[in-house]
């Protein structure tokens, strides 16, 4: 078997007030694979992403990417040094920076000319060249979404984490943005973990789907397998 890009092993995480949100979560993601995590709200999906990103520190377990330990019993790499992209629910664009400023934010230590070039390339690839000098509040929901993705992708991460990336969009924009995101991810050969509670989103973007419940991954299978099952029981909540 090929070595996975990301391997999460036996993660445990509890909030200060006790209840365990992750209770031994394990999952793997291959190079350029899109894994969708589904599950009821409160099952720990978002916390799993935050632990992989390093925004939360799990009490036990390990996160390894491309053979390097990001989190284990001895070491903890801070989020800013992990080289992982994150698209937040609600996007968290910087309201005081333009589209250009938002995208350039993460490009540290490059000469100015190269920085400008990278930003320009990225703007072109997500089709936002004309909006480069706008502020986030002057953009539509779909455009904001693309800025958030471009902002992460410009750093060329091996792995993207996306928390409910389509949830704030209306149905039409939603399917457009979904197609667009997949095109960008595939073009860059970027692996991704996408958290959603929407089955349709899951079908459209996933290579594999992981079902999560009570802080554990209960099942991982190719999207097609879930699809046949879900069409048989169309009304069951994910």
């Amino acid at each position: 078997m090929i070595k996975p890009l990301l391997s999460v092993h036996d993660l445990h995480f509890a909030h200060v007030r006790g209840q365990e949100v992750l209770a031994g979560t394990s999952v793997e993601v291959q190079e350029a694979e899109v894994l969708v995590v589904v599950g009821p709200s409160g099952c720990g999906k978002s916390t799993l992403l935050r632990c992989i990103a390093g925004l939360e520190k799990p009490s036990r377990g390990s996160v390894t990417m491309a053979g390097n330990a990001l989190t284990d019993a001895r070491s903890f790499i801070p989020p800013e040094a992990r080289g992982i992209g994150f698209v937040f629910q609600g996007l968290a664009l910087f309201p005081h920076l333009t589209v250009k400023g938002n995208i350039a934010f993460g490009l540290n230590g490059l000469p100015a000319s190269e920085r400008t070039q990278r930003v320009r390339d990225e703007l072109r690839s997500v089709g936002l060249v004309d909006l480069a000098d706008r502020y986030p509040h002057e953009l539509s929901g779909g455009q904001q979404q693309r800025v958030a993705i471009a902002r992460s992708l410009v750093r060329r991460p091996k792995l993207m984490l996306m928390d409910e990336p389509f949830s704030d969009l209306d149905p039409k924009t939603r399917s457009e943005v979904r197609t667009e995101v997949m095109r960008i991810l595939r073009a860059n050969k970027t692996a991704a973990i996408i958290v959603t509670h929407d089955r349709e989103d899951a079908f459209h973007v996933a290579d594999r789907i992981a079902e999560m419940d009570h802080g554990r991954i209960v099942r991982v299978a190719p999207a097609s397998e879930f699809r046949s099952e879900w069409t048989q029981h169309p009304f069951q909540e994910v």
Binding site: A53, G54, L55, E56, P78, P79, E80, A81, I84, G85, F86, F88, G90, A92, L93, F94, P95, H96, F105, G106, N108, H137, R151, S152, R155
Partner: protein, 520 residues
């Protein structure tokens, strides 16, 4: 719907609002109605120097306050180190010290003949004198920095966690997160706090008088009490008012340039280790010790000394006066605030007027006092009624100054009562006034009590307005403290000063709790 009644209540509300705005109108229009025999001298010799000293004192004070407040707020909000939760609220406490008490205490310790200065000079030969304008800025900044610390703490704690997380995921280290994300986003909150620091500096009289710094407020006192020229005092008040208005305009323009959404995920503090953790702890301890523990300990020690021989009993009349004036002012202010709240609730169409009427809170006490006095003088001239030098005038001036303070809790309390409740009462045949009296008002009781306490505590601390408007031989705790400091008997003022500080603690702690509830 109830036309005649609506008209009547409109006139009452309108009349009250005009009464609240009158002192300011008197000040602004003074060149047209008040003769100022000494104005040539005042304009030539007092205004330029006083304006310059005001500007540099305000500038340096705000700068130092920012320097104390922002790192502290950032540390207790986004980092984790031993004692962080304690410092989080402890650093608010310096606000309990009125500026003049803080300044005089530091003067008594670090002035040319201060206890610490003498000890240092005896041991090292270095002469220390804090009683200069930069020294005063430092002391004022120590007393006032929580005005910036509090809103900055709220901004850093709650509003921006998703943006800070996003910055981390984009590779932003701690410095970059602070300067490129947190500071721009917190700018409106910080600007608001800085404005309050500037206002308090402009408002202060006791500290600047004691340190011999010539601010506009000191100039007003000099024109009024030294030159006996109310006209010039009014014009200087007008200049001070213009300064206040330009500061507010400046703050608005800073505020407009950034908007902030809020989120409910509290920021998790990034743990600090080793020397970084030690540095954070030392910063907080030193700031808290110098800004709060040191002055309070010094006052408490003085108070303890005077308690032994019952000298403090001489303050009983002043305490009585303070409580009397405080209660009357609280009562009057609450009545007006309730009337305005009712008007806003039943939409009598006077909202703009009642909003304007609360402007007194940003106006320095001396300006209000001079305006009120000029108005009372005119009243005597026209009707023969003498109210100058009476308690009535003080109560009136305090209502003008503290109306906003009383209105805020009432408005917040009323907002929590659903409109449907009023509508239900109307459908049951109750008039708007009866609905307000029997439904809204009883539910508002906690807010009214809180508002009354806030006004009472502020009156206890207040100095410049009290000094100008008090009747002859009418001493309050604050005027006593100031008098004793002026005749170099500061240690005797321990007991009243301590009482004032204790009074100040209450609103500060309430404010801290309220803001914490909003961030959690």
């Amino acid at each position: 719907m109830h036309l005649p009644q609506n008209f009547r209540s409109r006139s009452i509300i309108g009349g009250l609002a005009v009464l609240m705005l009158l002192p300011l109108v008197v000040v602004i229009t003074s060149p047209f109605h008040a003769s100022a025999p000494e104005w040539d001298h005042v304009m030539r010799d007092i205004l330029p120097s006083h304006l310059l000293e005001t500007l540099r004192l305000v500038g340096l004070t705000v700068l130092l306050a920012l320097l104390f407040a922002i790192p502290s707020a950032w540390m207790v909000s986004t980092l984790d180190f031993p004692g962080r939760r304690l410092f989080r609220w402890a650093l608010v406490l310096p606000l309990a010290l009125p500026t003049y008490i803080c300044a005089i205490t530091f003067g008594s310790l670090l002035g040319p003949t201060g206890a610490f200065s003498r000890a240092i000079s005896a041991n090292t030969g270095i002469h220390i004198d804090i009683m200069t304008w930069p020294g005063l800025s430092l002391v004022l900044a120590l007393a006032l920095f929580p005005y910036i610390y509090l809103p900055a703490r709220v901004a850093f704690s709650a509003g921006m966690s998703p943006h800070l997380d996003a910055a981390r995921m984009l590779g932003g280290g701690a410095w970059k997160r602070f300067f490129r994300v947190a500071m721009p986003l917190a700018r409106p909150a910080i600007a608001g706090g800085a404005l309050l620091v500037a206002m308090e500096t402009l408002n202060d009289y006791g500290a600047v008088k004691y340190y011999g710094v010539r601010t506009l407020t000191a100039g007003i006192f000099r024109s009024w009490g030294g030159l006996y020229d109310v006209g010039s005092a009014l014009r200087l008040s007008g200049v001070l008012l213009l300064l206040v208005i330009s500061l507010i305009t400046l703050e608005r323009s800073v505020r407009r340039r950034a908007g902030q959404e809020s989120s409910h995920r509290p920021v998790t503090g990034a743990p600090l280790y080793g020397w970084k953790s030690a540095a954070a702890v030392i910063w907080c301890i030193v700031l808290f010790a110098v800004a709060f523990l040191l002055p309070v300990a010094s006052i408490a020690l003085d108070a303890f000394r005077t308690m032994k021989d019952l000298r403090f009993l001489q303050f009983l009349p002043a305490l009585g006066n303070t409580l009397l004036i405080g209660l009357l002012a609280a009562l009057a202010t609450i009545l007006i605030a309730v009337a305005f709240a009712f008007a806003e609730r039943s939409s009598t169409g006077t909202n703009r007027l009642t909003n304007w009427a609360s402007i007194g809170y940003v106006v320095p006490g001396a300006v209000i006092a001079i305006g009120v006095m000029a108005f009372a003088g005119w009243l005597t001239h026209v009707t023969g009624i003498v109210i100058i030098g009476s308690i009535v005038l003080m109560v009136y001036a305090f209502s003008v100054r503290f109306l906003a303070l009383a209105s805020q809790p009432l408005r917040a309390g009323l907002k929590q009562q659903p409109k449907a409740m009023d509508e239900a009462a109307h459908l049951l045949g109750s008039s708007p006034w009866r609905t307000f009296r029997q439904v809204n008002l009883p539910l508002l009781r906690p807010a009214i009590i809180a508002a009354a306490l806030l006004v009472l505590m502020e009156v206890v601390k207040e100095l410049p307005l009290t000094l100008i408007l008090r009747p002859f031989n009418f001493d309050t705790l604050s005027t006593k403290v100031f008098e004793l400091a002026r005749i170099e008997q500061w240690p005797d003022a321990g007991v009243p000063a301590l009482l004032i500080v204790l009074c100040g603690l209450f609103p500060v702690l309430v404010l801290d709790r309220l803001l914490e509830r909003r961030t959690r």
